[in-house]
Every structure is written in structure tokens, then in C-alpha cells.
Point group: C2
Chain length 195, copies 2
DNA sequence: GTCTATAGGCAGATAGAC
DNA sequence: GTCTATCTGCCTATAGAC
């Protein structure tokens, strides 16, 4: 039996996901091919079909993994930061980090091509947004209670506003290749939520 | 010579643009084909190439016409509404109208697939955003002067924040098919700019 | 301006050997 | 698990008749 490392080297399936993830986030789901992944990985497209029977299944796996990692990042924020406003700042930083890798949020870019996606992928995109808004709404509710955050309207509405603003800021900033552009909008958003 | 009507019936080129425009705004530029347009129009794809030599040229023409119409709408707002805050509300309504037609802003959806676009189209997408932000910055400057609008930071930064927020609100609202979702974020945005 | 016919390429996908 | 070989379908685009 092969030796197991604590931080294991990725298997083929994971490497496929890594490459595909980058391609989705930079080009969109319909704008990369099995051939793109196969070439980069040094195997054939036929081998890809062994790991993921079709592109729809690959797409689903991509969102699932992305959403899991995002959920972990949110848990990490909850553990590390007690202050609600600090949590919102950290949340915005997650987006900035994605953009810094010259990528768009995966579900943001999938939202743009939503009409062309297979049903299972659509469901997962919506779930991602719902999960994010639920987390944001909780942070906002907490922040209102302990007075570290101020806003008018319902936490749900404001949560969806935060999500929309950050997604939009990424969308517009990326063609300019300008991280400062994103940060300006993010700062403005967070300033409006300061108690 | 054929009789010219005041509000002329569209020629073939314009009808092509009408169909292609709807397809871009719902599916994205790379997710529709000449065949889609040809079928709907009842002609062959070969005929399409007579009007637009290639898809890149069609794409350019689409953005140009879209940007012109948008610029006209902004001029109309300038003519009709003296109040800066009213102008911003009307601006947000332009976006809501697009979304009501189950479409995304053309340049918003093109921003998502920016990396895959031919250079001339990229240039025009950027120009569209720049023009919008220039208009917004002017309205903000005017509104600050006549005290119909209040904000902190530079008009340019706030202008780019408004654009980003509205684009993002469209992007996220469309998968839900929920216009109310967009309106909630837009109202929140405008409320933050009220003097 | 619109057609038929066709080229040439790339897409996702499968069968079957190793 | 990965390969070769192959299929079918769709894509953009062009030549040339009408």
C-alpha cells in the first residue's frame, strides 16, 4: 500500500478539477473543452471521461467542491473573528483574493451563462447564493444586536445587496485587470454598514 | 423607389441585430450560433455572412448599437429630469427594464466572457463602462453641488460603485427570475445616496 | 440578397485494447 | 486508468449560381 501523506498529493480527479476550475473562472463553463484539460494534464480526453462521465457531471463536481471550500472559509471566519463588521470585511477579502488570481467567482460567472447550464448545475448555483446570503444575514443580525454594524431594512435584503455588490464589483473590475477598482467599491459598501 | 415610413420597418441587418441582441443578453456571445439567428429569421447562415462577414463583426455591431441606444436613454434622462437623485433613479430603472425582459445587461454578460472575446469587442465593452461611469460621475457631482445627493468619497469611485452594484444585482437576480430581488438592492443603493 | 453545397475544424462522447 | 480510433454533430466560413 502506498504511503499516505498528511497533506496528500492530488489524484488525477482532483487535478482535473483544479484545471477545470481555473478554466471556468476565467473563461466560463461553455468556453473550455475536455481537450483543454487533457492537453494541460498530459492525458487524452477519453481518460477524462473515465473520471467524469460527461461535462455536466464535471460541472456539478466543480460547484460542489467550490461551495464546500467557500463554506469552510466562512466557518474559519466565524472561528477567528468575533466582531460582525470584521467578519464582513473578511468576507469581502475572500472575493478580493479570487479576483487577485485573475478569476471571477465561479457562481458569478455561472450566473451569467445560467440559461445554458444543465439543471443540476443550476440548482447548485442557486444553493451557493442562498448559503452565502444566509450566512451574511446571520452576521448582519448579530452585528445589529451587538451594535458593530448598522443598516436599515431587513437583514435578508441587505445580505442580498452585499452579495450582489461584490459579485458585480468583480464582474466589472476583471476586464480592467484592476484590483483597486474592486477594493474601492468594497470599501464603500463596508463603510455604509459601519455602526 | 419604396415609400419611406417615418418609423421605418427594420431591414434584414437590423432584424439580425435584434435577434442576436436577445441571444447575447440571455445566453452569452459564445452560446448562440449563426444557425440560431438564421432559423429564427427564416434565411440561411450563408446570407448572414453577407450582412456581417464574421461573428466578431456582428459582435462589434451589437455593442455599438447597444451603447448608442443607452447613450440616447441617458440624454433623454438629462432632458426630462433636472434633479440629480431623480436621474439616478431613472438610471436604475433602465437596468430594471432590461431585467424585466429576462435579459442581462449586454456588456455585463460580455464582461463575464471577456477573456474569450475578440479585441475589438473588448475595447467596446470597456468604452461602454467608461461612458456610463462618466455620466454617473457628472450626475453625482451635480447632485452634491445642488444637495440633492449625498455621498462620501470621490464621484468617480461612487460612480463605479453604482455601476458595479446594478450589474451585480442583475447578474444575481436573473437566475432567480426575481425582479423584486433586483429592486431591493437598487432601492438600498439609492437610499444610501439620498441627501 | 439569398440560395445550395461544401469545406474544415472542434466539440463531447463511446468502444474496446492494453 | 489510460490509450487509439472513431463517431456524430455542430460550428464558422466560403465559392459560386440565381
Amino acid at each position: 500500500m502506498a504511503v499516505r501523506h498528511a497533506k496528500h498529493e492530488p489524484g488525477t480527479a482532483e487535478r482535473i478539477l483544479d484545471i477545470a476550475e481555473r478554466l471556468v473562472q476565467t473563461r466560463g463553463f461553455n468556453n473550455f473543452s475536455y481537450a483543454d484539460i487533457a492537453t494541460e494534464l498530459g492525458i487524452t480526453t477519453a481518460s477524462l471521461h473515465y473520471h467524469f462521465p460527461g461535462k455536466a457531471e464535471l460541472g456539478q463536481a466543480l460547484i460542489t467542491r467550490y461551495a464546500e471550500r467557500f463554506a469552510e472559509a466562512l466557518s474559519q471566519i466565524d472561528r477567528d473573528l468575533p466582531d460582525a463588521h470584521g467578519r464582513l470585511e473578511a468576507y469581502a477579502r475572500l472575493y478580493a483574493d479570487v479576483l487577485h488570481g485573475k478569476r471571477m467567482c465561479m457562481c458569478g460567472i455561472l450566473a451569467a451563462e445560467y440559461q445554458t447550464l444543465p439543471k443540476p448545475m443550476r440548482t447548485e448555483v442557486i444553493r451557493f447564493f442562498d448559503d452565502n446570503q444566509r450566512w451574511l444575514a446571520e452576521v448582519l443580525t448579530q452585528g445589529r444586536a451587538d451594535q458593530s454594524v448598522a443598516f436599515s431594512g431587513s437583514p435578508d435584503d441587505v445580505a442580498q445587496g452585499i452579495l450582489s455588490t461584490l459579485e458585480g464589483a468583480m464582474l466589472v473590475a476583471r476586464p480592467y485587470g484592476d484590483l483597486a477598482r474592486f477594493n474601492a467599491t468594497a470599501r464603500q459598501l463596508l463603510a455604509g454598514l459601519r455602526a
